[in-house]
Amino acid sequence: MDRSLVEAARRGDHEAFEALAIGVSGRLYGVARLILRDTHLAEDATQEALVNAWRRLPTLRDVDRFDAWMYRLIVNACRDVGRDRRRMSPEIHVIQMPQPATVPNEEVEERDLLERGFRHLRDDHRIVVILHYYLGLPAAEVADVVGIPVGTAKSRIHYATEALRAALDADARASVRTGEGAS
């Protein structure tokens, strides 16, 4: 993150804002896709977060916190878009995630298990998983972005991690049982 760009954008320099947005938009879109599991909704959320960023940039007090501030905006935009989706069409469950063609079988299987485990998590647990494991934010920053106490962030990360571990372990146990039965 270029401090001078943030300063310029705060003063109303739209070109500086565009440069900043191009730098951060990939991560924002990634977060939105992972949270919302839908391409179009993720695009809407990303666009909203960027427009809100422009509008509110002059109110950002600590320029060094720009990235965390942007993550807060995208998480809030995903919540808004997600709320609209539930209100408007509760039956929609679109999963459109890319799958590279040449991935070893066991890896595909693991992704599938994690995907299933992830879908069983509550929304607020999914969000901390994405912030912590995808963006690499420590628990304190996750807490700051989501607006919860650090202890709660740690506990959510722990719970979600264990739930995903359980999803993988359950399959491993099932494989062992199948193997025992066959011998």
């Binding site: 705060r10 109303g12 739209h14 804002f17 565009e18 947005a21 191009i22 938009s25 990939g26 924002l28 879109y29 990634g30 977060v31 896709r33 992972l34 695009e43 990303t46 666009q47 960027l50 427009v51 422009w54 509008r55 509110r56 940039l57 002059p58 109110t59 950002l60 007090r61 995630m97 890319p98 590279p100 991935v103 693991e110 992704r111 994690l114 995907e115 998983v129 994405i130 494991y133 995808y134 690499g136 607006g147 991690t161 995903l164 571990r165 993988l168």
Partner: protein, 324 residues
Amino acid sequence: MTEPRPIEQRIARWLEATAPDDVPDHVLEAAFARSRVIPQESPAIAWLPRGLASRGRAAVLVAAAVLLVVALLAVAIAGGIVRIGERDLRGRVQDAGVIRIAVRTAPPQAVVATAGLAGFDIDVANELGRRLGVRVDIVRVSDTAASRATGPFDLEAPSLSASALDPATAVAGPAYYAWPHYLLVLATSPVTRPAELAGATVCVVEGDPSASWAGDGIAGAGGVKIVTRPTDDTCLADLRSGAVAAAVTASIGPNDLDVHRFARSIGGPPAEVRVVVARRSDHPETLLDDVRTMLRAMAADGTLGQLSRTRFGVDLATSIAGGG
């Protein structure tokens, strides 16, 4: 047997593989187009103490905003500046997430094709909606002036000039292209300049703005006799038969000139600047300002020129867009 990787690594790797590589360009373009026309908030909001975070701070902000709005409304109502219940058109469009744009089915700007309506007006309407970040509903009307009082649309891309509008009901917005009119004579005619048509009979299309230019004397020739016909085709039939010495085109575009090889152009009136239109009672000023900014951006980045070349064969838009 290899030891499985820690769960943390496995989750991180899965998320990395699942997330998309990059954001689609149109998302950035839409966000930039919207943000270019949205004012930034005042930094004063950030002066509130951090201790009033989340709900407490929000409550203070809401209370302050409510007080400010009430005070401003009281002043405005007392001064007769606003009437309660009125809402700016831009706000309504943004709230609805959709903009309804009316077009006239006037070839070649908007024609009914196999796959639905198509043409330059439709292309421009769709591009404006995309840049505004809202869905576009195209509303097809046979006559925008007649539909303006009650028509279910927010804006018009009607391929009309500002002079064709009734200022009591319509606001002429920014220009989006300029339509040429050609003064045609037979390909075999010795006439090479409008001035050489003095005393000749010239055909114009009824109601077309070019009629006044022809009536004023075709570039100073003076003494021309004007006859009107309902369409370009009937004017051209008269030209072909020799009933008139020249014809001023109304809807024939640059693409179509090649089709009429029996005729050639010797100039014509100035191109007719065509504008985006809104209903005056809708309070459209801020939305029209946005449209002006977007049209200028579309001209600058080549979008408008490309749309024009695709539909008309030449760029009739870049030099004029956003003006007016």
